[in-house]
Symmetry: C2
């Protein structure tokens, strides 16, 4: 057991191993960190882009629970030497992203720190949540979009090259429009944050199913994290309906596997502390 | 304007300048950071004490809104070199404090980081919130407990001396039992986190009142932050009732000023980034 899993196992419930968000009184609540030198390096992105991505990765958790994000709390730890211009750019990234999704920023905390570390809580209206559990044998598995770009661009950045400003790694594309429409017809969903193969391992553990792949998926695709595309499972009888919603919302969709009784092995390297 | 206020002013609302928590659907929601080398140094406290204080300072925000804490989300950034024993101690600090207050830990995030940085969100049942606003001219101002110990012990720690394990700086005492009983009879409340004089400045700004002190309060008391005692205002006709509740709950109470129309000047040094 790695240290992260060990830490989690010290709590009374496996609190961090569950869904993308917790559900309380028709609300989904989720909190995620976005830390300098952990999730990003300052030279990779502008402060506006950093604040926007910090918001989007948190909004993504609400969307995949079928929640409509409403409120955000921001905790922002900021280096003392930031100029007013920099603070303004950072605030604009949070505010404009919140506005784009109809989110009101209702609180939080600002502190001085050695680096830029952001922690965001999103509260979303969530009357019909979609969980990670719920997959049945015979269900089809699908993901939205094209996977692989995020990992490829992260590798480029780590090697010192630049990437396009619209790279998925810099500016994730969320699939809210597609997902809210398919949500009534699916059994289970999560966002692809650790990579398809690693996230499938979570579905495997939560549902005790394995997956029969329709064709092999290369590691450059299956091990690409921070895609924030949606991985979901549904009964084959809704295949046509779901494909139609994908077409109408211009969402690329890959139906790649069937849930079956068999073990599962994640082919990606672990990325834990 | 200092940089912190400037950053806050860049948002559409003065989101961080309001109450200790936001109120939504009969719930209070608050999020506070507890960061290494910002709020504590590792050599000052055990990991158990750090986790406990991180929880308590957040629970305090819920209590002063008259909220009953119910749920917590923890984001914990942990150095890679922590041993299993250390992780266990940290988790125990969170879990036991949550249990003591009837709080269920429902989610969060764990990441590897260069230092121990904690961010906690508390959700509390809060049907009759008490806000910072609501003070009327003629109201009496009071605080619970004895102020000054937290600053004195912080100074000792900064000079390399040790402090008692039951020091308020290490283990804040929350006044939930007293506060829930007086809440129906008061106009306004907040916890003393930045120091009495600085927190009075917030009440001054929120209520446009000044304060006539009954006797001078020395700086070692008025400028002592992180006390987590409660500062509140009430109509003089409830003085006897409130004193009686203090007696029954064995809570020390100091009625120290009257709200009047006059300016206010904070005598403490600013502590912003």
């Amino acid at each position: 057991m790695n240290k992260e899993d060990y830490f989690i196992s010290c709590f009374e419930k496996n609190i961090f191993l569950g869904d993308d968000a917790a559900i309380l009184n028709n609300m989904s609540i989720s909190q995620d960190a976005f830390f300098e030198n952990v999730h990003f390096k300052r030279e990779w992105m502008s402060l506006y882009e950093i604040a926007r991505k910090a918001m989007l990765v948190n909004i993504s958790d609400a969307i995949v629970m079928n929640g409509k994000p409403k409120y955000a709390l921001l905790t922002v730890a900021i280096p003392k030497n930031y100029t007013r211009q920099e603070l303004k750019e950072l605030a604009r990234g949070f505010q404009e992203t919140a506005n784009a999704y109809g989110i009101t920023i209702i609180g939080g905390d600002t502190i001085a720190n050695v680096k830029l570390d952001i922690s965001i809580t999103i509260l979303a209206e969530c009357k019909n949540p979609v969980f990670r559990t719920g997959i049945k044998e015979g269900d089809l598995l699908a993901f939205t979009g094209n996977l692989g770009e995020s990992r490829r661009d992260l590798m480029r950045l780590l090697r010192g090259y630049s990437v396009k400003p619209n790279s998925r790694f810099i500016n994730p594309v969320l699939r809210d429009s597609f997902f809210y429409k398919v949500a009534p017809f699916i059994h289970s969903a999560m966002d692809i944050s650790d990579g398809l193969f690693t996230d499938l391992e979570k579905l495997h553990r939560a549902n005790r199913v394995g997956f029969e792949f329709f064709k092999p998926i290369p590691k450059r695709i299956g091990c690409s994290g921070e895609e924030f595309e949606i991985l979901f499972a549904f009964d084959p009888r809704y295949e046509k309906k779901i494909k139609n919603i994908a077409k109408i919302t211009r969402t690329e969709l890959t139906i790649f596997a069937k849930a079956v009784r068999k073990p599962y092995r994640n082919l990606c390297k672990a990325n834990h502390f």
